[in-house]
Amino acid sequence: MRWATSAAAVVVAAALATAFRGAYDQSLAVAALTGLGCAVGVVAWLTRAVRRRRGDGAPGRLRRFLSSAALVLVLSPLSLPVGWALHRADVQAARAWCDELIGRLEEARERTGRYPADVAALLPPPGTLPRLIDSRHLYLSDGASFVVAFDERATSARAVNLYSSTLREWRRF
């Protein structure tokens, strides 16, 4: 039973971390699940107290299940550091992908004298973009300059990563 509970806790935490990847919603979900876990724990404790008063000392199946569920839910905050790590990896992947794109844009400018009007031709097939890249809001150019930007959409929502070809630097705000 302990092994099953531990495995369930890991699965739930992993599911939360991979589903939300450190986004604000993960904190919300964890807070809600922890609260639920506390409530379930209270119910499990009450069940145990009632059985003891009745003189039935053997742990019931329901009480065991409730105790395990409470433990799994209360351990859901373990998913947060994992989610944040995944988020950092997502940001790094997006930044690296953008840096590669910027290199190709500079090559295009050396070749044609202008930056391309859009980057549709430089994008990988749909579904293979880094997680944080939104191709609709990625790139703006007037031919002589460009801006590449993506949102982090994480616990510090609205954090923006922006590269200006004129300033030749990334800014995060």
């Binding site: 703006l140 949102d151 929502a157 300033l167």
Partner: protein, 542 residues
């Protein structure tokens, strides 16, 4: 003095030097210029001193083109005219607004910015908007740190605010006490009588709602009734010229324009110190209280530079930002505890855990409301860092966008107006291109990020007008493409003049009131020079 026109005996004929039809911004500004002069002025105002439903109903009309505001809601028909619900924004037009721009069909005024500029000082005084200082540097601002764009492709400009002046209230006493200016209230223009050759106006016919009718003869007549009504009155005065006065080339009513306004995106400033935004985004409360060290109220906005307009072949475009406010629950105890708790957990501390949890439990609905707001995409770690970006640009002149006479008639027996408002590809191009230019300029300079929300397939889908009626009796040197000349005289009719935004050949980048008043003052100067010494009804004003 004021006279109730309903008490004028029927078939009376009144004489004056100048007859001004309409007592709104243009009519009152023009009439005031004659105070203390030897000229006798008659002002005809359809309404009374207060709003009345029966008179306002004369403004009803039909929309046959794009959806628009109800025609009896976007203007007011009583003494003071539409200034009675004016917001008070005063901006002068820029030199490029007057220039012909080859990418903007039918653009170009027959006068230059230099011809109007001397009148802006006086116009701002009439509008009580403070001294006319259009440049940012002229104002002493406590947080004067305009965002610096690279290459000056986007400029910071200043709007000056009138209190706003209700012309009917502000100038009522002056006009009431003036011995040479008589304002007839409840006096509706029913027709314009011209000579057989239709080259001069002999008199205008006035009709009151109770039914009495009289005439006014004058040396010069000024229509100052707004862009919809000026065109309607010319078209309806069709006894001699069957297509309507001044409409020999079918230009009366054409090129109706608006300032096109749309939410283009969200602006996230890069600088955590938001004091610079105090220039651009001033809550109404502070505006009312007087934001600046001066007694005058101002607000900054962005404007595409003339060079950027030329490069992108777009209409003159401005942008304003307004703060995206958080819901009240954002600052509630529950959500603030969520924030504090998250910060503490991240820092590895659990101090105050029970206190925060208790507050969250107590304010759970507030927490959920804030979460919902954040999930909708508007929220952030600091809500005041988000601003919505609103574009406003001049609609390109479009002859198919026009005012016509409808089949239905109003209580005076005049045909009601029909508005067929249409946009063009230039407008769609401007919406997309100007928004992208602004977003690029902001990002390129590292000032922040504008995330555009315009639909590229239908950029004008959420567009609205700005309650600015422009065009319909456009000014120009060529009668084939215009209705009035550079002196605002109707082509071919020597003594009939038009005042107001109906004469604008292009709408310009900004709110029209200051320019309406400036042009009215210029017209008054012209009339003072030309009407002197000419007999009433001769129609010889040049």
């Amino acid at each position: 003095m004021f006279v109730d026109a309903r008490e004028i005996p029927a078939q009376s004929v009144l004489d004056a030097d100048v007859c001004i039809v309409g007592a709104g911004a243009a009519g009152i500004a023009c009439a005031r210029e004659f105070l203390g002069t030897p000229h006798r002025v008659v002002v005809l105002e359809s309404g009374g001193l207060e709003f009345h439903g029966d008179t306002q109903a004369l403004y009803r009309g039909r929309l046959t083109g794009r959806p628009y505001f109800p025609l009896d809601a976007s203007r007011l028909r009583y003494f003071g005219g539409t200034t009675n619900h004016w917001a008070g924004n005063c901006r002068a037009l820029e030199p490029i607004d007057f220039e012909p721009r080859e990418w903007l069909p039918h653009s170009g005024w027959p006068i230059s910015h230099g011809d109007v500029a001397p009148y802006y000082d006086r116009a701002y005084a009439v509008c009580q908007a403070g001294p006319f200082r259009h440049q940012l540097d002229a104002w002493r601002l406590p947080n004067a740190r305009p965002l610096r764009f690279l290459d000056d492709e986007v400029l910071t400009r200043v709007t000056q605010f009138s209190p706003p002046t209700r012309f009917g209230l502000a100038y009522r006493d002056e006009l009431q006490q003036a011995p040479n200016v008589t304002t007839y209230l409840h006096a509706n223009l029913a027709g314009i009588d011209v000579t057989a050759a239709a080259n001069a106006v002999e008199a205008v016919r006035v009709r009151c709602l109770p039914g009495n009718e009289f005439s006014v003869r004058a040396r010069a007549f000024v229509l100052a009734c707004g862009a919809l009504e000026n065109a309607r009155l010319l078209l309806a005065s069709n006894h001699v010229q069957q297509a309507g006065l001044g409409n020999g080339t079918d230009m009366v009513g054409r090129c109706f324009m608006e300032h096109l306004t749309l939410e283009a995106g969200v602006f996230v400033p890069a600088d955590a110190d938001l004091s610079a935004m105090d220039l651009y985004e001033i809550p109404d409360r502070r505006l009312r209280a007087g934001h600046w060290e001066t007694p005058w109220r101002t607000k900054a906005y962005w404007a595409l530079s003339p060079a950027a307009q030329r490069a992108d072949r777009v209409s003159n475009t401005t942008a304003t930002v307004s703060r995206v406010y958080a819901p009240p629950s954002y600052s509630g105890p529950g959500y603030q505890s969520v924030r504090a708790l998250m910060g503490a957990i991240r820092a590895g501390s659990f101090s105050g855990l029970s206190r925060h949890l208790r507050k969250i439990a107590e304010d759970w609905s507030g927490v959920m409301g804030t979460m919902h707001w954040k999930a909708s995409g508007l929220g952030g770690e600091a809500p005041v860092r988000l601003y919505s970006l609103r574009l406003q640009f001049e609609q390109a002149p479009n002859p198919q966008s026009r005012v016509r006479l409808g089949a239905e008639r109003d209580a005076l027996g005049l045909p009601r107006v029909e508005l067929d408002w249409r946009l063009s590809d230039v407008d769609r191009h401007t919406a997309i291109t100007a928004a992208r230019r602004l977003a690029l300029a902001v990002g390129r300079a590292g000032l922040g990020r504008i995330k555009l929300t315009l639909d590229p397939e239908d950029p004008l889908g959420s567009m609205q007008g700005a309650w600015h009626h422009v065009g319909t009796t456009r000014m120009g040197a060529d009668p084939k493409s215009s209705v009035v000349d550079a002196n605002l005289a109707v082509h071919g009719i020597r003594n009939l003049f038009v005042a107001g935004s109906s004469v604008f050949p292009t709408a310009g980048h900004s709110v029209p009131t200051a320019t309406i008043v400036a042009l009215a003052l210029r017209l008054a100067d012209h009339l003072k020079k030309t009407v002197a010494g000419q007999p009433v009804g001769s129609g010889r004003a040049q």
